[in-house]
Symmetry: C2
Subunit: 201 residues, 2 copies
């Protein structure tokens, strides 16, 4: 994960720089959603965001820097959505609804960024310990504790997260041709079984 | 996975060669169980199996060849245990008992060979498609179909397998210090939830 620290110097320049950065990342995200990761070049992002190519290079260094910044941006977006966004993903909905919405949001994000997520997947000995994975499984653990307080929610959260592993989604959708709807229904069913509740009608 | 083909030539020699090979692999497995993967050197295996060092080198080429052969041997052993071994892992026990026993057998195998399994883990885009993973998830799918025929057993099998991922076991036991007993209880609980049955007393 790239660290997105503040830009030093003048506060107005900082705000400008942050806006420009976000604009470039949103342009890159649109390109990925439309053409896959292969469609994201420095030139294409510059054209999509209507800025000069030099601006994109100055900001991200190279294509890998851009793609890593994009993954980081979207991970932060997801995190902010479930921490403080509107329900059912964000606070305000019952924990079971939030848990269902969480998996669907992760599956939707993976549908757009699967190539990137696969390429950025850490080695086996750090896959579950890197901070982004920790933030997601902590969120699931907290929700599970509200739904099934007597269970080993920590372990069940890991299992739920493992069912959303990008490598597994890649295998199921691309190598075995399952439609995304089946994975979404599978998540809803899994949540119902793990929490011993009835699936929503 | 190394292919374990027949040794060409005289049938008695072939049988002899297979026996010697198995003896060396069992010696290596004992060393791993006692000292971890670091304790397995060509010299140590030769000493443990009471053969000359040259025999081990002729058979496996180098240490990597030996370790891969060992993983392959133990994967085949597990497969033969659940396909044709004694119940509850093998045929003859109710499918729910076999499913419980399967996860415990996988956890036990990982406890002995975790370093090896981590080192041999394929890249993200082949992790779920390589033949060894396929054999295990097919077995779980077949058992689930007997227990919960109306469910999407194919997807649930992937989730159950994902909860036994060596990278996850590594994270939980070594990075977070959970005892193996907790993972074993977690598997039994997960099976009960996924199948909507009561956990065994």
């Amino acid at each position: 994960m790239l660290e997105v620290g503040p830009v030093p110097g003048d506060p107005c320049l900082r705000a400008d720089a942050a806006r420009n950065r976000a604009r470039l990342l949103e342009a890159a995200a649109r390109l990925i959603a439309e053409h896959g990761a292969a469609g994201v070049t420095m030139e294409a992002v510059a054209a999509e965001a209507q800025v000069g190519k030099g601006t994109v290079f100055r900001r991200f260094g190279d294509r890998t820097g851009l793609l890593m910044a994009l993954l980081d941006h979207s991970a932060r977006q997801l995190q902010s959505d479930f921490m403080s966004g509107p329900p059912p993903l964000g606070p305000g909905a019952p924990p079971l609804d939030r848990l269902r919405a969480f998996g669907l949001a992760v599956l939707r994000r993976s549908a757009d960024q699967l190539d990137l997520q696969l390429a950025a997947q850490p080695d086996a000995d750090r896959r579950f310990s890197h901070p982004a994975a920790g933030a997601l499984s902590t969120h699931i653990t907290v929700l599970l504790r509200q739904i099934i307080p007597d269970a080993d929610c920590d372990l069940l959260a890991q299992t739920l997260m493992a069912s959303l592993d990008p490598a597994l989604i890649h295998h199921l959708t691309r190598q075995r041709g399952m439609p995304r709807e089946r994975l979404e229904a599978g998540w809803t069913d899994l949540v119902a079984r793990v929490t011993r509740t009835e699936p929503p009608r």
